[in-house]
Amino acid sequence: MSSLSMRPCGDFRTSYKQDNTIFETKTIRWVTIFTIIALCFAPLVVDGYFITLLIQISYLGIAALGLNILVGYTGQISLGHGAFFGFGAFASAWLNISFEIPVFICIPLAGFLTMGVGMMFGAPAARIKGLYLAIATLASQFIIEDFFARAEWFSGGAAGSMADPVNLFGFAFDTDESFYYIALFALVFMFIWGCNLMRSRDGRAFVAVRDHYLSAEIMGVKLNKYRLLSFGISSFYAGIGGALYAHYLGYVSAEGFTIMMSIQFLAMIIIGGLGSIKGTLMGVIFMVFLPEVLESGVGLMKMTDWGNIPMVIDGLAYIKEMAIGLVIIGFLIFEPEGLAHRWTQIKNYWKFYPFAY
């Protein structure tokens, strides 16, 4: 989980302030700013399908960052993140329909509601840890899922519930292209917030709890407070992500938010790298593109003579699921530190290129 930052020669830090900047080097800062500006022009360049993928990356990325704060930074385990994501989606739709609150206020409100629920279910975390916590959160996943199916006033029961598009000053963000900007804004905002959180006193307390909770407690870090806070923040992120998902699709049904979704979130942060904000985004991109790549791979195989096997083509849905399982296992065995670590290694290789030994 540790990240060793390799800096170019001559780039010294002389104060804590310099050591705590969001971007490690000037180059990284400029590359990030240019990437965000370039992404703003994406709808003009790429086709609509790619935009839907980018929107998917945005809302999943926000939720996954929340999980990474909980798992990667605080060292707690949660198998119920998918349920919190779903809770955010339903909460936002419910607030909008029942109280007629404008959607762009509903989204943060849904985040806070989910935060409350997350802290309620995270409360045992103050006392239990490790495997027991994993299974307690598994229980909360099933209980919340059951709640969705049962509470018709909240989720619309089996029929699901409708969610209006985001509407700001009379302009409805109801197309993919326009919603893309909302999603992008939310993503950038939440990621900057996450970066800043990790630079703050609370963020350092999270890391201390993860690395050695007994020592942290002796040093004066309030264990219960930070464990609970971490659950709250992670659920807040999940709620925001879920709310965006709801208002993007316009319709929420209870079937999607299963244990499989929670596992996919965990897979994202493991593939990307636990305890790495950049890695979270890499993991999400990987997991969003994995099924697409598989699908086009099978599509290409279909065109050749030897690859036209009906078993493969009919079983595509299963192959996608199997690939998720395989990727999780493969990464944990061969690259347990995730893509972020691999990225650093590649960068260092080129930095030291002729003299790497």
């Binding site: 989980m1 385990i77 045992p124 027991y132 209980i143 007994l214 002796i218 199997m322 990727v327 296992i329």
Partner: protein, 297 residues
């Protein structure tokens, strides 16, 4: 209040609870000796049941031969799994170990769906009579067999750990890995053996359940339902697993009964154990029989 129905449900709960206990025992066995929480336990049931089904249908073996064949297969499967996937995970943090077994679970679940399809298949008839009545209660033959098998497995576990050399080695490894290694116990073999045993015994439970309800991917849910039982008893207590299994088995049936008679909330059968799990963890963070960790700096 309908007492007859209630007693019938409680008896059913005890029978299913014994099976939970057996699956929970495998779970605890793997956890105790290798420190790995096996989220793929349900898939062991599933794979065992499908292999047995395939050997009965495609190879047309008689039941007991097919049964034995699938047990042998599963023993090999468990050992191989441990060697290939789980050996590299020794010493990794808990979250990685959990995720590896979750990955295995997803992989095998969809693999089984891919190979055998999603619709439930039933075994060819094994017993002539469907059910017999004991003391006025209807008990299905397959359930009776499952009870007998579960009891046999439990006794076998007891004898194995108490009186055999390998059992002693496994207990020693569970107690202190380094000390037992320095005294000549092959920890590698113990790890492989515990996975082999867990896979075999789970497969037995899977086949028994498959005979009652038919084989389908819903069998793998048993792997998740066993968690409340195991946590209730404490993750590292074999007796606790059996007691927890019995409690959960009875509890879900009783919850179902009260729900259908009075509350009408629905779906209590599946969800009640998880509520109990949360409540228990609130008061006893290490389960009823689990040993409390004492940590030093």
């Amino acid at each position: 209040m309908n007492f007859e129905l209630l007693t019938q449900l409680i008896v059913n709960g005890l029978i299913v609870g014994l099976l939970y206990g057996v699956i929970g025992m495998c779970f605890v066995l793997v956890y105790k000796s290798t420190q790995i929480v096996n989220f793929a336990q349900g898939e062991f049931l599933l794979i065992g049941a499908w292999v047995c089904w395939a050997s009965l249908i495609y190879l047309e073996l008689p039941f007991f031969l097919g049964f034995l064949l699938s047990l042998v297969f599963m023993a090999g499967f468990g050992v191989l799994l441990q060697m290939i996937v789980l050996r590299p995970m020794i010493g990794e943090p808990i979250i990685s170990v959990i995720m590896v077994t979750i990955g295995l679970s997803i992989f095998f679940q969809s693999l089984m769906k891919w190979i055998f399809g999603v619709s439930p298949q039933s075994y060819p008839k094994v017993f002539d009579t469907e059910s017999i009545s004991i003391l006025g209660l209807n008990v299905e033959m397959a359930y009776l067999m499952s009870t007998v098998i579960a009891l046999i497995i439990m006794v076998a576990f007891f004898l194995f750990f108490k009186h055999s050399k390998h059992g002693l080695a496994m207990r020693a490894t569970a107690f202190d890995q380094q000390a037992s290694q320095s005294l000549g116990v092959s920890v590698k073999h113990v790890f492989a053996m515990s996975w082999g045993i867990a896979a075999t015994v789970s497969a037995t439970a899977g086949i028994v359940l498959g005979m009652v309800n038919g084989v389908s991917d819903s069998l793998s849910i048993m792997g998740i339902k066993v968690f409340p039982a195991v946590i209730l008893g404490g993750l590292d207590s074999i007796v606790g697993a059996i007691v927890g299994g019995l409690i959960i088995g009875v509890l879900e049936n009783v919850a179902e009964f009260f729900d259908s008679q009075y509350l009408h909330i629905g779906n209590m059968y599946d969800i009640a154990p998880f509520y109990v799990l949360l409540i228990i963890l609130w008061f006893k963070p290490y389960g009823l029989f689990g040993t409390q960790d004492i940590e030093r700096i």
